[in-house]
Symmetry: C2
Subunit: 506 residues, 2 copies
Amino acid sequence: MNSFLLVERVSYHKPNMPTAPYVNPRVLEAQFAVRGPIPMRAEQLQAQLRAETADGGTSVLPFTEIIHCNIGNPHAFSQKPLTFYRQVMALVDAPMLMEIDGVVAHLPSDVVARAKQYLQQSGDGKTGAYSDPTGHLWVREAVAAFIARRDGTTVAPDARNIIIADGATSAVRLIMQLFIAGPSDGVLIPIPQFPLYTAQISLFDGTAAAYYLDEGNQWGLNAQDLDGCVKQLKQSNASPRLLVVINPGNPTGQVFTRATMEGVAMTTTLFSSQMKCIKRTFMVLAACLRASARVILHMPSPYHNTSCISLHSTSKGIIGECSRRGGYMELLNIAPIHHAQIVKLCSINVCSNFNGQVMTALMCTPPVQGDASYPQFREEYDGIFSDLKERAASLAIELNTIKGITCNSVDGAIYAFPQIQLPHKYVARNDALCAAAPPAERMAADARWALELLEATGIVVVPGSGFLQPEGTFHFRTTILPPKTQMAAMTSSIRAFHTKINELYA
Amino acid sequence: MNSFLLVERVSYHKPNMPTAPYVNPRVLEAQFAVRGPIPMRAEQLQAQLRAETADGGTSVLPFTEIIHCNIGNPHAFSQKPLTFYRQVMALVDAPMLMEIDGVVAHLPSDVVARAKQYLQQSGDGKTGAYSDPTGHLWVREAVAAFIARRDGTTVAPDARNIIIADGATSAVRLIMQLFIAGPSDGVLIPIPQFPLYTAQISLFDGTAAAYYLDEGNQWGLNAQDLDGCVKQLKQSNASPRLLVVINPGNPTGQVFTRATMEGVAMTTTLFSSQMKCIKRTFMVLAACLRASARVILHMPSPYHNTSCISLHSTSKGIIGECSRRGGYMELLNIAPIHHAQIVKLCSINVCSNFNGQVMTALMCTPPVQGDASYPQFREEYDGIFSDLKERAASLAIELNTIKGITCNSVDGAIYAFPQIQLPHKYVARNDALCAAAPPAERMAADARWALELLEATGIVVVPGSGFLQPEGTFHFRTTILPPKTQMAAMTSSIRAFHTKINELYA
């Protein structure tokens, strides 16, 4: 079983109840586990903790804090912003600060120079004005130069190649909207996947077909599995419009090899020709935080013509500026009609936010050796990087020592997706609880596990069922973000909790 | 003819050409005149001007600058940001600046206090982290206090009442998505309307029915005209889901009276009961920049139960911080199911950008008498306000002295929507040009007029046809933003241009 069709079109064709207020049934249908019932329960517990401990009191809860491992939100933990980026952004927001005696002299010279450059490039300081719908030209130039440096190539900063977005999320929504008009439009997604993709597919009423990542092989992608997805789609009268590749993996944390990416491009091209639709009908959408989708361009003909939109954001990794909603789309081999429609959608959305644009330019143009800010930047950057690396490694190692939990290594994302063996009796108990509960309170066995973990320990993770997973397996997604001591406490709590589950339901 | 159904469902049911790359036909169908062919031509002319004058050369064009009156973008003209807002935002972005000797002493004390407050309220300085999907609590509190002060009432800062958005644009998209699943979902919109509404209705495949604003009566709204819209929708098997009220008017610039708003609420409630759907099925969506939709709450039963979402943004008016994408939705009488689905959609979009949230809080909490920043703030604010007022008045007066142009007064927005009398021969010439042109180059007579105005004068306005208008009438939308001297030159150019049109096609 290498692929299957998601046929969870639950409520769409059923009319709403006649007495209930009307809601678009696609909205009702959409699910988003990252912010679902478990995080909502965590909020209630957080409020309870706060209230009970307000006047030095003691909480009745069996933990003293809520640890939010459900969302990749680095600054919510101990990760600090990079000083250079924040200093430049502040001077761009308020250039009058540079007129205060001592400010310019005190700040590193490259901070001031960079701020002046961005101000000058934003229509002589008109930073409050709308930018071009595809982003300021100077931001696109910074992105183009970044890609060119990273991949040893040249890239024109033209909106044909680069479009600035409000984080990767808004770009995903835009691309889904471009291709999905209804059930006959199919999207290939990995299992496990990030629930944003299934949510957007539901919202636009498309059909999702899933290919499995190979947990036994470091969450690898076998390009030939995509074949099964396309067949499934055809059988349900849907055409494949879009292939989602998430790299580095979310929730799975792996980084695909160059050979994998090439295999995907080859398979994609073959599908397009088999289907007698011209090339570019079928697109690859890669959420690429670090890896480059440009390997495609170096492939032999016709594979180098594979259409691809690759996304990058300022939210994750070393920068972690989630709140800025900064990011970009890199467009490869995009048909003119697609490009024109993307630009129109950007225009309808007016433009992406200015501070996100500034942060995107900064991400693409960090200080370099010789710049006044470089030593501090390097120290901060390397410190965060080695912290993340250490946490990623220690989390996987620790989890693997817990009986009934196995975890692949985390190569390039801020997430891990460990598998949990749930005792047969635990699963049976969940089935019984669900049978007795109203539909809204029914949940998968790993959702029950995550909820009970939260109630027992204060740790918030997202159940694997929220990301989709092979039938009969159970997982959870956790971020690698809690700092060292907190993570030690966290893995020890998970160990105690799961050991107890194993004992109780042996 | 007080209302009509927009049946421009041009391409949806036609399949895409088999050899062309696939695009969601709803995306192809959507139109957005504010950034359409005329602004695109303006960009070409701008580039030509720049190139020809680069080395002190002279352009062959008959004008020396492009004046962008097509988009309400105050800072792109001479309007300056409010110093207090920018100073606070910069310190919140980079609190390390407060550690530089002299900075705190130099800045007004309320700037520093406010920045420290916002930092502390953002999880002790964790401003790079995602906020709650509905916005930071402290931003919602600022909005609640603002509404309470403005309307002499109390408002809980609860996400039941207030949700922070990336400008009004993202809120409009979200609300349209909540109610529109397909052609059977109807939306009532004014004519003229801002094209964002028709674009989003097209994108979600809904059916728009239009009510006319009364140009002869200061662009007034006659609530009984809504009746005709609902009948039209029923005849085409669509149900009214949403009524769009734009107040202050865009493109029309008027402000509705309290009696008008009450009439709308009454009519809305009557429709809901006539249709045998429970109250709250039918919502009012008001884009309220200044006026309050809360008059509804003070009406007698059952009218005070009218459901309404009212929008406000940081983009327009005195603040004009378009690029920040800040704004909020105020929810009145919203059914729990609608609220839950709105929150879910916000969660899927993750959260609105932080700097937009800061700007929203600042907009709602300006310095008050006694604060250190107050004198400068007052001076800046009043200066911008009186400038805008003066420009609004002088633009209408000047345009009304041009033969063949009439313009209502601009009461509360940054737009005017003058009517142009086009000579019969000019319209006939346009018809002939269109008949000979490929479909993509055909345009309404006022679009031709706007294009020729651009080519002759460098002034960019949006043709009335982009906003919809009564058949046989012609208009253009212009902002009131060009500064005094530029506006004098602009009205004089329009006068010369239109006088020539009148002579040539007499």
